[in-house]
Amino acid sequence: MELQAVLMAAGGGSRMMDLTYNTPKPLLPVGNKPLIWYPLNLLERVGFEEVIVITTKEVQKMISTDPKVKLDVKMKLDLVCIQEDADMGTADALRHIQQKVKTDVLVVSCDLITDAALHEVVDLFRAHNATLSMLMSKAHEFTETVPGQKGKKKTGEQRDFVGVDGTGKRLLFMANEADLDEGVVIRKSIMRKHPRMHIKTGLVDAHLYCLKKSVVDFLADNKSISSIRGELVPYLVRKQFSKSTNSPKVIDETHQNLKKNDSNVNLEIQISSRDEELLHLTQERSCWNDHRGDMSDAYHGGRLRCYVHIMDEGICYRVNTLAAYIEANRLAPKLFDEPAVHPSAVVSERCLIGADSIIGASCQISDKTSIKRSTIGVSTTVREKVKVTNSIIMHGVTIEEGCNIQGSVICSNAVIGRGADIKYCLVGSAQRIEPDAERTNEVIVGTDQLMEI
């Protein structure tokens, strides 16, 4: 077996608490499908037959009863539960399933919606015998107004600095603005080996990583690393150029160093494989080199290599903020071919439904309603003379007559009273909006949620 897929679905959605305080993030509806369906569909399309899903008990219960996941996903899902309050990072979760990991892993996050060609990432991983291969995409500006946001969008998002070499494939440098004190510091050893480096900042990390099995074993020994994105990836990228991994004769010294329990040492030993001499003979006889201009061999003799595939076009979203959630809802219909209006929805004849709207199953849309560029969830009731524009209505919502909803997100089981005028608001789960209310740019949530931090 070549690769095992691991889906991380235990995240809390800390950046969109308004949406996730009632529904766990993996089950948020995007285009009327649970968020977790998208990465599962991606893996299935590409040809995986089983996936290890790391999630919480709550999500596990809901997944096993969710019809969409049960019916559409033909792969075998191996659900592993972790404690919700254990505050495990993604690397901790990988350590947790170390026993199940028998080959190289493909780690995907549950909030990834993309139509990327996965074979590009995996081909880099295979062809160069890389330790890490990841997917990134050019970030798109979110154009939709985000409900409940006061003032202009802050560029509070910490920037990522990603350094790649001339071909754009080899990952040379990765740091987050938060980790840098004064400026971007690049070591001389990197500059000596790769004098031309392109540093990019407008990239979105898709959180899709191909990791060698030795990395998972290394994680098992090094309990200090808890997040793949935040700690493991920068560590591996730095380790490419560290002296200890580059000289082959260090292997003898590393045997002596074992007692010191040096973490660097373990990674080095685990990288070497069987038939090393044949591979070495091949490389010696082959006339390929990944760089030119200096006297060193291919890959500068380095054993650890990290690669990245940067997507120029195509959809790639990480649904971890409200803005991303809204954008994803707009674009999700392009990813699958289902009809926009579900056959079981009861749609009366005198309503106007725009071409880019999605109506979920068992809906009831009454007369004289106008639905444009919106997503209506499952079992929602929309009464007469309602205008819904640019909004996301989740499941089980009731919208009484004469409402006007614009640019808003209405969570599940909410009730909007008649004649209400909601503009750019986020209405929390099971909330009631009183009739004839006029709300603009507000976040309406229950009092119990306000108590959570």
């Binding site: 077996m1 070549e2 690769l3 095992q4 897929a5 590409v46 040809g47 995986f48 037959e49 493909l106 060609a117 996965l118 074979h119 995996v122 081909d123 295979r126 062809a127 160069h128 015998n129 038939d275 044949l278 591979l279 003979l281 091949t282 490389q283 010696e284 006889r285 082959s286 006339c287 390929w288 080199n289 030119r292 006297m295």
Partner: protein, 545 residues
Amino acid sequence: MADCGEPDGPGNKDDITRSKNEGKELTKEEKQRLRKQKKHQKKQKERKNEKGPSETEKDKTPVSLLPPPQPVATQKAPSALPAPASAPIPVPASAPFHSSPAPSPADKPAKSKAELKAERRARQETDRAAKQPGSSSSGIKTKVPLSELNPVVKRLPEHVQVDDPAVVKRLAKKLERQQTLPYGASNKIPLRSDYGYKVSLFSHLHQYSRKAPLTQLLSIPSTVIHPSIVRLGLQYSQGIVAGSNARSVALLHAFKQVIRDYTTPPNEELSRDLVNKLKPYISFLNQCRPLSASMGNAIKYIKKEISNIPSQCKEEEAKTKLLTCIDRYIEEKIVLAAKAISKYAIEKISDGDVILVYGYSSLVNNILCEAFEKSRKFRVIVVDSRPRLEGREALRRLVQRGISCTYVLISALSYILPEVSKVFLGAHALLANGYVMSRVGTSQIALVARTYNVPVLVCCETYKFCERVQTDSFVSNELDDPDDLMVTRKGKTQLENWQDVSSLGLLNLVYDVTPPDFVDLVITDLGMIPCTSVPVVLRVKNLDQ
């Protein structure tokens, strides 16, 4: 190139051992004969289940079955049958005729050769009578003009018939048949499609694009094809493993992994099943990049080793035996051969020499480095050519050792040749008629060197010797990605939209053949031989095997 690597039917060991025991030399025709016999027997076995044993079968492709190796006189008699070309009968019987399938393998050991021959002759007579009116209907390939001296090509290899749609369809069907698991359309080996406009003279060859790898069509945790073979295919198509020796070593390394992970399914024998398992992998690799002659020979060797495993051998034993065989093959044919060739070649390098090398040849590099270590004083001129620019890598490795080098492009060849005292060339394969197949541009170098009376020495290990015969570079070659010819300078790529210009075709050839008149000496691990002695070496090699 890929002739040797074509999948054969499961070996009929009796036939080979019989011929071996007789101590007769197996010439090229005889080997062809044997191969066809085996193929026919396999078809016969399959058909036995459907129809009853039939004497005259209409095969889809004409199969020529010549009698087993006999003294020449008796061969003349059967070849007196009318052939489509009624030319005078050539001496080593090469006239094609239709014949019926060979006797079933069970009967073979029992009957003697004379009886078999008589049987066959009788069948041929009946066949001829039956087939006379429609004899040319299925003989597509026999329309190839017969040469009196050389055996007729019965079936052109598929990789040089890309412009014939029937052949392409057949290839697709063959890939379907080779699926490793019995169910599901997703378990097929995908067919890689050609890219771009092909120059008409080479339209019979495949031309693939590097941007459309074969892995697009495979599932990602590849179950149909072993992961190490997928990795190898990717490395071939991206050029990470390039060069005849490197490709062979990488291939054998991947096969070692395959053998390690292999388990015999119940009711199957390792010797037969493993060969069948390898066939789709070889088709896959062929599509990633056409197989080289050295790879073909290595595959033939492995298949032979696998088929020779006795059936009572336990699986673990068999696997370790195969692994040691592979290691030994690499050690003998590549590593030790390189040492031997270096030893011979160093005798030819004298102090004060100016040696010209072309492109990157791992063997020639090895020789030069060893000569330098043995303190010969010489300098090297590295000639390079676009688009591969492999000479840069050769230059780097030589300079790293401390050898003083000059670097020129091939267009400066005639300017630099007056300085040169010797030319060392590497080879991709040595063909049976003495022609050297090597990187495109080699024949130019040999030609100009001959004009300047500079000795040309070709260095080649014996495992690259190929039984093919080729006199020009058109009939069988490799077309690389035409987009490689595009150059971007200062942000502008002139040929960016070459596909839109209807009268423009980009041609990126990989190999060419050099006639033996331009080559003065071939240095092999068997010694230093003239170019025309290659068939002798081949014959000697076959005897050994």
